[in-house]
Amino acid sequence: MTDTYAHLVNQGLGRNVAKRLGLPQPAVLRRYRPGQPLITGPIVVQGNTPGADNLAAELLSWDLDVRRHAVPKEKLGAIIVVLDDVARPEDLGKPVLAAAASLRDLGPGGRIITVSRPASDAATPAQAAARQGVDGLLRSLAKELRAGATGNGLLLAPNVETTSPGALAAVRFFLSGRSAFVDGQFLTVSTAAGEPPRNVEKPLEGRIAVVTGAARGIGAAIARTLHRDGATMVLVDIPAAGDHLAEVANEVKGTALQLDITRDDAGQRILEHAVQRHGRLDIMVHNAGITRDKLLANMDESRWNSVIQVNIAAQLRINEALLASEHFRSSPRIVSVASTSGIAGNRGQTNYAASKGGVVGMVRATAPLIAAHGGSINAVAPGFIETEMTARIPFALREVGRRLNSLQQGGQPADVAETIAFLASDAAGGINGEVLRVCGQNLVGA
């Protein structure tokens, strides 16, 4: 699971050789550690709208070094380009070129964030053009960034301000090391819902969270991350994985629930356990998933059905039970793990991609249902993540898989976990029905 190449080109001789030969030089990403500052170096907020002014003022109140104008040659932590009221494509030039002037000063692990509005509800074709232009701009810019810097965009629905809780939560996430492997992505904040965090170090304090597939890999990382952020954990995995599950449960001081999620009563069993021990359930993370890869021509019924059952049918049944329960009513959050395979497709994974595409569909359709209870449902779509599963991919294929993204490396299970913790937080309440990719801007797919 270690990326030996990345290790090699980040020190001494290896660094020089890679540089001279023009080989990829994946950076060591800036990842979140508790107690670490949100970002090091000044943040420049470009744009002269009220939205830009308000956002700059809010960031200032977080004790950040906020500038409205860059000083040449000064290393920057982040550049936020606020484009929330562009009316014509011509309006993009001034703020974007102002940001361009300080791009070379962006430090390692720096951040670019655009703040704009969705083209879908633009008033005029010109406004739609300007708004959609931000999409192409940001995705291209993200590919130009180096040294672990990333670029991501916020899309604010009409009634959402740059200082709405969801917008601020997303800005905080994108600035921090929590979003290390999220690159070239847009995230829509659709409502002004959400509560600002009372304790930014423990944003999930007092919340009761369930994670499926928690015995190993990404699931175990999710359990650790949610626990670190203050949540009380219930860990679910199949009975046969109980020994690993117990280890993780004891590490995060939670409880282990050995349960096959494809059982008809799985949702009920999860609820019973959470309610008996904790009185309620607040956060449901659907992480459990399996692969049974075969070209479709060689696919058999058992491979197809087991993947559909575990990866999507079980989630639908569990969600139905949760949404019907009075014990899932306290700002409930559901976060599901999709996959870039479900978005872009992957040879040999028709069953898996069908199930993960299904997750995306489920999340979008469930959003209004859970919003009625003041909650949200979202998905993360991991790209190439360094896990036991990807470690089994043949060497050459694995090397290609790793490098084919803007950050030229695979992500860590913790990167997926951080994104899930963010979407599960109270502050992210205004984000609903979204799919956020954790893929380092994989060259394949949207």
Partner: protein, 454 residues
């Protein structure tokens, strides 16, 4: 009332449910349990020590109920086959677990009744108010059994240690003969008779005329019931996998009467036609560990933990097998009537029976004795037979013949499974449900206990 000359206390003398409801005593409840799958000796756990397995069983229990860093009132466990280095086995397992290191622990040993006796002892402490919570358990490894040096070598080593001069040492060494250097394999023979447990049981089997067919049928039911329990997910919250094993290694879900009846007798071969005990209707040597979480109502309620059943009462008995008065494993025949009498209960008041299957014929001999009018009158001091058990209420989720029998771990396995069974039945039927556990043990010992649903 007198049973076999051993005075007993009947309900008319001490009042019913003395142990459960006597003034000043509170209730001891079973919260749940955890065990690792049992493995045949030399199998999946061949390289695991008693301490490894007991720690794994504890950690699974801790994970199931979220007991990390908890200071439990006391942990009691034991092993029958035990290395001398494991003088503090349970405490060492606690220190290696996720419990608070400030959790006290003690070892207990009562042959195969060890596991059940830890439940009884800790329940009593809870009832007395000495502790609020306890974890009872047991572990045994037939694979990692202690190997002992010969008595000659042992004496020589000790003498060498005491010797002061070289000539003295040489003199001691010259005493040694090649046979002294051969290690002694661990044995389960009775020290006073030299007979193995199987040979003892073969005599009892013959005495009670237990047929081969009846034994094979009981063994078949054990495998079928255990397999069905696994398939129904019964063990999902009673067991945590260990070292790649997710089910008991001894379980043969596909066994049949044909297969069982084809096996050759292994015990009592000198009995001719009465040789009926095979590897199929006897328990194999097994490795494994089990734990049971016990608590007062207050302690369980404060942590929102489930309460499956109360430990009502228990009784130990022993028989004079040395002089052949009773069979080695027949003590439960006396323990159960005394226990039920003290509680003012009869066999009809018990919904589920868990009679440990040391051998299929052990269970059948016990049942035969209880059904025997003469035995009831002359040995149990009753008016007639003690009674007949409805077989559909016996070992309903399988027992030791299928699961295997890591000696000290069997009690915890039975208690946790029975507590879950009486609780689920009580919920489904809306009435209190009682279960009886009986475990026979080496040395002519037997322990029985009553659980009642909550």
């Amino acid at each position: 009332m007198s049973i076999d000359g051993q005075t007993t206390t009947g309900p008319d003398e001490a009042g019913a449910s003395a142990a459960a409801s006597a003034p000043g005593l509170r209730r001891a409840v079973i919260v749940g349990g955890n065990r690792i799958p049992f493995a045949r000796a030399g199998g999946a756990y061949a390289k695991s020590s008693n301490q490894d397995m007991l720690t794994a069983a504890l950690d699974g229990l801790i994970a199931r109920f979220g007991l990390q860093d908890e200071r439990i009132g006391e942990v009691a466990a034991g092993a029958v086959l035990k290395h001398s280095r494991d003088f503090n086995l349970t405490r060492e397992a606690v220190l290696g677990s996720a419990l608070s290191p400030e959790t006290p622990a003690y070892d207990l040993q009562q042959a195969c009744a060890t596991g059940l006796e830890t439940v009884v002892g800790l329940s009593n402490k809870i009832k007395l108010g000495q502790i609020d919570s306890g974890i009872a358990g047991g572990v045994d490894s037939a694979s990692d059994a202690p190997v002992v040096v010969s008595e000659g070598l042992r004496e020589a080593i000790l003498d060498l240690h005491r010797a002061k001069s070289l000539p003295q040492r040489l003199q001691i060494l010259s005493r040694l003969r090649p046979k002294d250097l051969a290690p002694l394999a661990p044995g389960t023979s009775e020290p006073r008779t030299g007979l193995s447990m199987g040979e003892h049981q073969a005599l009892t089997t013959s005495q009670w005329k237990v047929s081969r067919e009846a034994q094979d049928e009981l063994a078949l039911n054990s495998h079928r019931n255990l397999a069905a329990a696994y398939d129904a997910g019964f063990f999902d919250d009673l067991l945590t996998p260990y070292r790649g094993l997710t089910r008991d290694g001894n379980l043969r879900a596909d066994t049949s009467l044909e297969k069982l009846s084809g096996l050759k007798p292994v015990f009592g071969k000198n009995l001719g036609a009465d040789a009926t005990m095979t590897a199929g209707n006897s328990t194999p040597l097994t490795d494994g560990a089990s734990t049971v979480l016990l608590a007062s109502d207050e302690w369980a309620d404060a942590r929102d933990l489930p309460k499956l059943a109360a430990v009502v009462d228990a009784e130990a008995a022993a028989v004079d097998f040395v002089h052949g008065k009773d069979g080695l494993l027949m003590a439960p025949v006396f323990a159960v009537p005394r226990l039920l009498a003290r509680q003012g209960l009869t066999l009809e008041d018990i919904d589920f029976f868990e009679i440990h299957e040391a051998f299929a014929s052990t269970v059948l001999s016990i049942l035969a004795a209880w059904e025997d009018e003469d035995f009831g009158r002359t040995r149990l001091g009753l008016d007639g037979a003690f009674g007949k058990i409805d077989r559909s209420r016996l070992n309903v989720n399988g027992s030791s013949l299928a699961a295997g029998h890591p000696f000290a771990a069997t009690g915890g396995r039975i208690v946790a499974s029975l507590a879950k069974t009486v609780h689920a039945t009580a919920r489904a039927e809306g009435r209190p449900v009682r279960g009886l556990v009986s475990v026979c043990a080496a040395g002519g010992l037997g322990v029985a206990a009553i659980l009642e649903s909550l």
